[in-house]
Amino acid sequence: MDDNVISTMIFVSIGLGSLGLFAFLWGLKSGQFDDSSKFLGGALHDSEEDLNSAKKMTDKQDKIKSETKQ
C-alpha cells in the first residue's frame, strides 16, 4: 500500500475523532452537561418570548463589558 494512503487515513480518522473529543471537552467546560434535565426541559419552553428575553440579557452583558473596557 502506498505510504500516502496510510498516512492520510490515520490523519483523517484521528483528526475526526479529535474533533469530536474537542467538541465534547468544550461542552464540558461550558457546563452543558451539568444539568441534563434542564436542557431537555428547556426545549419545551422555547418560544419567541424566551428568545427576546435572552437577547435582552446578552445586551445587558455587552453593555457592562463595553463599560469596563473604557
Partner: protein, 806 residues
C-alpha cells in the same frame, strides 16, 4: 380538572381547598379563585410582568401555596454577609443561592425569567437538579436584598450557601479530572489499534517508511496523554521531591517519561521498537483509579450539603406574645421557638409549652415516636410529628446536636485511610530501589565497556519492566471483579479499596434497630375477646399514619382480603395514647394501656411487647401485641460470621432489656445498650486503639458518627440518606444475610490479591534481574509483560466462578 363539589383548586398553586375559604375574583372575563392572598399577589404579578405563560408550562402540577411571611431582608445587605458569600469581579457581584420551592422545569423558567427582567442583574442561571442558582449583578443598580425580595415575591424563597467551601470546588476538580480522563481514554483507544499494526508488522515484516508513519501517529497520541492526563503525577512527584520524598508518582513519571524519550529516540534513529502505547496505557489506567476516588469524595460532600439544606433556614420566635421569623443562625439561647407538625427541629432546647410526639429515629434510633412533656429535652434533628409546640432554645445553632454532627463529619472526610498511607510509604521505597538499580546497571555496564547507547537502553528497560504492570493490575482487576459480583448480590462498594480492609476486619459492631431487626413494629399476636366487625378496627387504624397503626392495617389486610374502610366520624388523635372515633352509634377507642387507664376501662394485660387494644362502647373486644421482629436468617448469619473468625458486638440506643432480649435470640454475647451517637463512636475508637479493625453496620443518623470513625462503614437499605453517604459499603436489599456474603466475598478477593501480588513480585524480581543482566530485548519485555498481566487477570476471574452459585 374535575373536583368534588366541596373543594376547589387555587388558580396559582393548584392545591385544593374547601370552597368556603377561597378568595374569588374575576379578571379579564375569567373567574379565578385563590387559596390565600400570597397566591393572588403572585398571580397578578405574573400577569403584569407578561409571564402568564408560566401556567401553560406548569400544566396541572401542584405548587406550594405562597408563604408571605419572611425574615427581615436587611441581613443580606450587611457587610459580614457580603464578605462570606459574595465574590466580586470587575465591579460585579456574584452569589450562589439555593432556591426553595422548585417543583419542575416551569419553576426554573419562571425564576430565571423574573431575574432576567430585573434591571441590574447580568446573569442568572438555576440548576434544576440541585436547585442552586448563580446570580451576577451590578451593585450600583440593585441590592442583594432586592433580588431575594424578587424571588420571594413570586412565591419561592432563597438563601445563600458558601460555594467556596465545599461543593463548587469538588465539582470543579471532578470536571477537570473527567476531561483529563476522557483525553486519556481517547488516546489509548486510538493508540491501541496502531500498536496492533506495529505488533503484526514486527512478526510479518514492515517497511521503515510505514513504521515511521505509525511512530509519528503514536507520538502525536502519547504526548497529550503524558503531559495533560499525566500532569497530576508530574505535580505529585514535584511536591514529593520538594519534601525530600520519592513517591509512587515519581516512579510513574520517571518510568513513563524515560520510556517516552526512549521511544522518540528510537523513532528518530530507526533502531529498535517504540513503547508509546505503554506510556498512554499506564497513565490512563492509573488515572482512572484516581478519578474514581474523586468521584466518591464528591458523593460525600453532596450528602453534607444535603443535611445542611434539610435544616430549616428560618425559625419562628415568640417574643412577648408576637411571632417573628428570624434566620436560624441568629437564634440565641433563651429564645422561645415555635415548631409546627412535620417540621425539623434545628436547635436544641427544652419544651416550654404544649406537648407532642417526636420522631427521634434519626438521632437515637428509637423506632417509636417519643411523647414529650413540658420540661423535656428536645434535640435538633428530630421531627415534631403531630402538634404545634413551643420550646426554649438552650444552645445556639452552632452548638446544637445536628450542626456538631455535621462539623464532625466534615472533619472525618478530610482524613486519609490508614491503608493508603502504608501503600504510599512502601511504594516510596520500591521506587527508590528501582531507580537506584537502574542507575547501578547503567554505571555497571559502562564500566564493563559497552557503548553508552546500549547501557542506556538496558537501564531504561529496568525501569520499564519494573514499572509495575502486573503489580499494578494485581489489585484493581481482582477488586473490580469483586465489586461487580457484589453489585449483583446487592452490595455496593464505594471504592474498591474497602474490600481489602473488610477482609482484614476482626470485629463487627452492629446497630439493633433496622440492622438486626426490621426497624418497624409487626403484629405477633392477635387475641379476640369478643366477636366484632373487623372493618371497624381497620377503619380506625387506617386513619392514622403512626407506625403501629400502619402495622395493624397491614396485618388485617393480609389476614382478610375483604376488609374495607368505613367513613368514621369525629376521628381524634390522642397524643402518645391512641385513636378515638365514632361510627353510627358505636364509640371506638384504640390504643395502649395508658389510654384505657385514662378512660377507666379495665385492661388486664401483662406483656413485654407494645400492646394495642381496641374497644367498642367501652368494652374491650380484642388486643394485639406488636414487636420489632428479627430479620430473616439473622441468627444463622451471625453464626456463619462467627465461624469466619469475627467478633460481633451490638450497640443500640434502646434500653438494656430490649437489647439483651434481641441479642440472646441472635446469639450475640457483647451488648452495649442506651448508647448516644457519640458513645457508639467511642466504642469503635476503643476497639481501634486495641488494634482491632472494625466494621460498623448501621442505618440512621444516630449511627453516622460511629460509621465515619470505623474502618469500614456499612449502611443497611436506603433508610437514611446520610448514613448511606458516609458509609463505605451499602446493602441495597436490606437483608442481614448480605453481611455474610460481603465478608466472604471480600476475603476471597483479598486472597486472590495476595496470590496476584506474590506472583507479580516474583515476576518483577526475575525480570528485573534479567533486565539488569541485559538479557531482555524490548520485544521479549513486551510479550512477557502482557503474559504476566493475563495470568493475573485469569487468576482474578476465578473469584467469579467461586461465587457463581452462592
Amino acid at each position: 380538572m374535575q373536583l368534588s363539589n366541596k373543594f376547589s383548586a387555587c388558580s396559582h398553586c393548584h392545591l385544593e381547598f374547601d370552597k368556603k375559604t377561597m378568595i374569588y375574583e374575576s379578571f379579564q372575563q375569567k373567574d379565578h379563585s385563590f387559596c390565600c392572598k400570597g397566591c393572588q399577589n403572585v398571580f397578578h404579578l405574573l400577569k403584569d410582568e407578561g409571564l402568564e405563560s408560566f401556567y401553560d408550562k406548569v400544566g396541572s402540577k401542584k405548587l406550594h401555596s405562597v408563604n408571605d411571611q419572611h425574615a427581615s431582608l436587611s441581613k443580606f445587605d450587611q457587610e459580614g454577609y457580603a464578605k462570606k458569600y459574595i465574590t466580586s469581579k470587575n465591579n460585579l457581584h456574584e452569589i450562589s443561592l439555593i432556591i426553595e420551592g422548585i417543583h419542575c422545569n416551569a419553576c426554573v423558567w419562571l425564576n430565571e425569567r423574573i431575574l432576567h427582567h430585573c434591571e441590574g442583574i447580568i446573569e442568572a442561571s438555576i440548576n434544576y437538579t440541585n436547585h442552586k442558582a448563580k446570580i451576577t449583578w451590578n451593585p450600583k443598580e440593585i441590592k442583594l436584598s432586592q433580588i431575594i425580595e424578587k424571588i420571594q415575591s413570586i412565591g419561592y424563597n432563597a438563601y445563600a450557601y458558601d460555594s467556596h467551601l465545599q461543593e463548587e470546588r469538588v465539582n470543579k476538580v471532578r470536571r477537570d479530572y473527567y476531561s483529563r480522563l476522557v483525553v486519556g481514554i481517547f488516546c489509548t483507544m486510538n493508540i491501541m489499534w496502531i500498536a496492533i499494526a506495529q505488533y503484526a508488522g514486527f512478526f510479518t515484516g514492515m517497511s521503515q517508511s510505514i513504521k515511521d508513519i505509525l511512530n509519528i501517529a503514536e507520538f502525536a497520541l502519547a504526548t497529550p496523554t503524558l503531559f495533560y492526563t499525566g500532569w497530576f503525577y508530574f505535580k505529585g512527584s514535584y511536591y514529593g521531591l520538594k519534601n525530600a520524598m520519592v513517591n509512587m508518582d515519581f516512579l510513574i513519571v520517571s518510568g513513563t517519561l524515560s520510556t517516552y524519550f526512549y521511544s522518540i529516540y528510537v523513532s528518530l534513529t530507526g533502531v529498535g521498537e517504540v513503547y508509546f502505547e505503554s506510556v498512554t496505557m499506564i497513565i490512563t489506567f492509573i488515572f482512572a483509579g484516581k478519578y474514581l476516588e474523586v468521584l466518591s469524595k464528591k458523593n460525600a460532600v453532596d450528602s453534607l450539603d444535603g443535611i445542611s439544606s434539610s435544616i430549616p433556614s428560618e425559625q419562628t420566635i415568640i417574643n412577648s406574645g408576637s411571632k417573628k421569623v428570624v434566620d436560624t443562625t441568629l437564634v440565641q439561647a433563651g429564645d422561645i421557638i415555635e415548631v409546627r407538625p412535620g417540621e425539623k427541629v434545628a436547635i436544641d432546647g427544652i419544651l416550654y409549652k404544649y406537648t407532642g410526639n417526636f420522631d427521634e429515629a434519626s438521632i437515637s434510633g428509637e423506632s417509636n415516636p417519643i411523647y414529650k412533656n413540658q420540661g423535656d429535652r428536645i434535640t435538633s434533628g428530630t421531627i415534631c410529628l403531630d402538634s404545634v409546640i413551643q420550646y426554649r432554645a438552650s444552645k445556639s445553632f452552632a452548638n446544637s446536636m445536628i450542626q456538631s454532627i455535621t462539623t464532625l463529619l466534615e472533619e472525618s472526610l478530610s482524613k486519609k485511610p490508614k491503608i493508603e498511607k502504608i501503600v504510599n510509604q512502601i511504594s516510596g521505597y520500591f521506587s527508590l530501589m528501582v531507580l537506584a538499580m537502574s542507575l547501578l546497571t547503567f554505571i555497571g555496564w559502562t564500566m564493563l565497556g559497552i557503548s553508552f547507547e546500549d547501557a542506556f537502553i538496558i537501564s531504561i528497560s529496568v525501569i520499564v519492566i519494573a514499572c509495575p504492570c502486573a503489580l499494578g493490575l494485581a489489585t484493581p482487576v481482582a477488586t473490580l471483579i469483586g465489586v461487580a459480583i457484589g453489585a449483583k448480590k446487592g452490595i455496593l462498594f464505594k471504592t474498591s479499596s474497602h474490600l481489602e480492609t473488610m477482609a482484614k476486619a476482626t470485629t463487627i459492631v452492629l446497630d439493633k434497630t433496622g440492622t438486626i431487626t426490621n426497624g418497624r413494629p409487626d403484629v405477633i399476636n392477635f387475641v379476640k375477646e369478643k366477636d366484632f366487625d373487623l372493618n371497624l378496627l381497620y377503619s380506625l387504624v387506617k386513619s392514622s399514619a403512626h407506625p403501629i397503626s400502619k402495622a395493624i392495617a397491614n396485618y388485617l389486610e393480609n389476614m382478610d382480603e375483604t376488609v374495607k374502610e368505613y367513613q368514621l366520624n369525629e376521628i381524634k388523635n390522642i397524643e402518645a395514647r391512641g385513636l378515638k372515633a365514632s361510627f353510627k352509634n358505636f364509640n371506638l377507642l384504640g390504643g395502649n394501656a395508658e389510654l384505657f387507664k385514662e378512660a377507666s376501662i379495665d385492661l388486664n394485660l401483662n406483656s413485654s411487647c407494645s400492646v394495642f387494644a381496641f374497644s367498642i362502647d367501652s368494652k374491650i373486644v380484642c388486643f394485639l401485641e406488636l414487636e420489632d421482629k428479627l430479620k430473616t436468617d439473622a441468627a444463622i448469619t451471625m453464626k456463619k460470621i462467627k465461624e469466619l473468625g469475627l467478633e460481633i458486638i451490638m450497640c443500640t440506643g434502646d434500653n438494656s432489656i430490649v437489647a439483651n432480649n434481641i441479642a440472646k435470640k441472635v446469639g450475640i454475647d457483647v451488648v452495649y445498650s442506651a448508647m448516644l451517637p457519640k458513645d457508639k463512636a467511642d466504642v469503635v475508637k476503643d476497639l481501634q486503639s486495641n488494634k482491632k479493625i472494625v466494621i460498623t453496620v448501621g442505618d440512621g443518623i444516630n449511627d453516622a458518627l460511629a460509621l465515619s470513625s470505623s474502618d469500614i462503614a456499612i449502611a443497611m437499605g436506603s433508610n437514611t440518606d446520610l448514613a448511606v453517604k458516609v458509609s463505605d459499603i451499602i446493602f441495597i436489599n436490606n437483608k442481614i444475610t448480605t453481611l455474610y456474603d460481603a465478608i466472604a466475598l471480600s476475603k476471597s478477593v483479598f486472597n486472590t490479591i495476595k496470590q496476584n501480588l506474590f506472583f507479580s513480585l516474583i515476576y518483577n524480581f526475575v525480570t528485573i534481574l534479567l533486565a539488569v543482566l541485559g538479557y531482555v530485548i524490548p520485544v521479549v519485555a513486551a510479550i512477557s509483560m502482557s503474559l504476566s498481566s493475563l495470568i493475573v487477570v485469569g487468576n482474578s476471574i476465578r473469584i467469579k466462578r467461586i461465587f457463581k452459585n452462592g
